[in-house]
């Protein structure tokens, strides 16, 4: 039987030791501040429009009528103004149409169109704008291509409300904050084992189960509080607060389970660092699937943190409900239980 009183005493001892070291306490707060600083320094919106300036003595109707959410054609008063604006980076490209464009086209001749690009525009964007201008002029001349395209949008259509870079990186920052506690807790346990204090504790009425539960609660409290504080400040708790709270809790349990396993393999701080870094890097990988969608293949689902990152991403950026993230949370819970069980079993053997 577990002894709640002993567990609470151990937890409060570990937490007070943590906060008694003012330096670690301050640095932990500063860590959150640093991540918050980076978050707010990142762009909060996405520019998804091709902004192109043009100059035409006579504006072709298709340029005037072109209204597409991905393209903004802005007429300027002269070729010089177009060049200046492009050079300053105000537009991706500048188009200068010749005076007698329409007459030349009607006469079946090939007019020359000048396109200007800024210095930072990559080759692929130049080719894309060339294709776009070519197509606009085909439309202007009335030359249709015999294609009937039926479009299906897969997933929520985010045109006009794209997820900003800062919101895509948010799950990564949360995982950083939560998973970093792996090192601290693993080191705490390793020190207890290596210094023999664990044996001293075990000669008291405290059982080994009490000890691990207490360490687990300490780790969960530290990881969870940092994750929740960060998410609360960046607005990550606004959409689905309860879903987020449960996800972060399970994430904190995951960090605790991983730290138990790291502590099992480690003999000193050096090896905590070594094994911890391996675990940390592996756990960070799934955040790439949110930051750069489509870049990571299906095997990423084999990494436990995927279910945390995906839930945080879905709940904060798409307001996903319990139904939508329930399977993720259940999977994460299952993984947590296995990791904690394996970790405690291995640590128990090591402690004996």
């Amino acid at each position: 039987m577990m002894n709640p009183h002993i567990i609470s005493v151990l937890v409060s001892k570990d937490l007070s030791l943590f906060f008694r070291n003012r330096f670690i306490a301050v640095i932990t707060v500063l860590g959150i501040v640093a991540y918050l600083g980076m978050y707010f320094a990142m762009p909060g919106s996405v520019d998804e429009t091709l902004e192109i300036a043009f100059y035409a003595p006579v504006i072709p109707p298709v340029f005037d009528q072109m209204k597409d959410s991905g393209l903004e054609l802005r007429a300027l008063e002269s070729e010089r103004a177009v060049k200046e604006a492009v050079k300053k980076g105000e537009y991706l490209s500048g188009i200068v149409l010749p005076t007698e464009l329409m007459q030349t086209l009607l006469a079946g001749q090939k007019p020359t169109i000048n396109l200007y690009f800024g210095p930072d525009v990559p080759v692929e964007s130049k080719e894309a704008v060339e294709a776009l201008v070519t197509e606009l002029l085909y439309l202007q001349s009335g030359e249709q291509v015999a294609l009937s395209i039926t479009e299906h949008i897969l997933g929520p259509d985010l045109v006009g409300k794209q997820i900003s870079l800062r919101d895509r990186i948010r799950p990564m920052f949360v995982v950083f904050l939560v998973m970093f506690e792996t090192f601290g807790l693993a080191n705490l346990i390793t020190e207890e084992i290596e210094r023999g204090t664990i044996r001293a504790l075990l000669v008291t009425p405290m059982s080994i189960k009490d000890l691990f539960v207490a360490k687990g609660i300490t780790g969960i409290c530290l990881a969870l509080s940092q994750g929740v504080l960060f998410m609360a400040i960046v607005g990550g708790m606004n959409a689905r607060p309860l879903v987020m709270l449960v996800a972060l809790f399970l994430g904190a349990v995951l960090a605790t389970g991983v730290s138990f396993i790291v502590a099992t393999m480690a003999r000193d701080f050096m090896s905590v660092l070594g094994w911890g870094v391996i675990a940390f890097i592996i756990l960070i990988i799934p955040s790439m699937s949110v930051l750069f969608p489509g870049t990571v293949s299906g095997w990423v689902r084999a990494i436990p943190s995927y279910y945390l990152i995906e839930t945080v991403h879905q709940a904060t950026n798409f307001r996903a409900s319990w139904d939508q993230v329930g399977s993720n949370l259940l999977t994460l819970l299952g993984i947590d239980l296995v990791l904690i069980w394996v970790g405690i079993a291995a640590l128990r053997r090591k402690a004996r």
Partner: protein
Amino acid sequence: MNLKRVGILLGKELLQGPKNFILIWIIVAPVLISLIVSLVFGTLFTDKPKFGVMDNGSSKLVTSAQQLDSIITKTYDSVSEIKQAVESGSVDVGIVLPQDLDECIMQGSQVKVTAYIWGQSLAKERIVLRATFANLARGLAGQEALVEIESATLGGEGSIPWNVRLLPFIVLMAVFIGGVFLPAISLIDEKQKKTLRALVITPTSIGDVFAAKGIVGIIVSLAMGVVILTLNQAFTANPLLLVLVLALGAVMASEVGLICGALIKDATTLFAIWKVGGIVLFAPALVYMFPQIPEWVGKIMPTYYLVQPIIEISQQSGGWYDISTNVLILVGVDVLFLGMAVFTSRKAKRLIA
């Protein structure tokens, strides 16, 4: 400071120092991560719209699309595969081509095409892919271009590709993981095992110990920096200047490691500091990765003055004239950190006495 004693301590550090997991990680981690980043992300971070095609026949349109530089074309064997690719964001638009596409287009008869669009794809990517697809179909139909297009770039510099944007992160990681952790861990370990006290009651001074550990950090840090730049084919122009900048960076990293080692009691605290310090040290790399972040964010971090000259030399073939100001600031930072390292070493001596 006694050079002979520093030499003996240095030999001891190099031959009998940490031979454990951490040393392996200091060497392996940057190389491994550099390789992964170069191989995987070097080709993945691109602004090109991604176009998926599932061809029920054998259309020439697919070959034409694959030859374009403006888009990335991927082919799929079934409708379910292409839909899955669109849903995951592997492609922005996926098009299912009918078996007789080429014949129908050439005959001018109407062709029905199904397009799947990823909901998170940007509007500009959709419009580019639509125009490109129409252009390709016109090419199949034999329609001649109506206009001649002459493109010109205004201004001098070109865009920065992703492999270059990632280089600062890789370099900083290589220089700072070894440069900081090796001296810091070594000092903390000596303090915890009380061997530092044993050393300083001999004629060896605390300065000798710090110098030896600092030099080990500099050697490992510099070596890793050179290895990483070589792996990333950055040693093209001014190799000596590049090594000089790397050496100054290695000095900075090692000084940071010594300061941490002198002030910190245990490894847990070192990690707590790394949690904050890491983001401060790596902030200039983030600025290079995402140019939307204001440049001043990077400039207020000391590592900016290491990263900027390295990028200038390795990517823009810059010379001394181009980097001199930043290198002088880097020297200033090194001197400042040296002063701090000397100060903290004295504090450490008082503490262990």
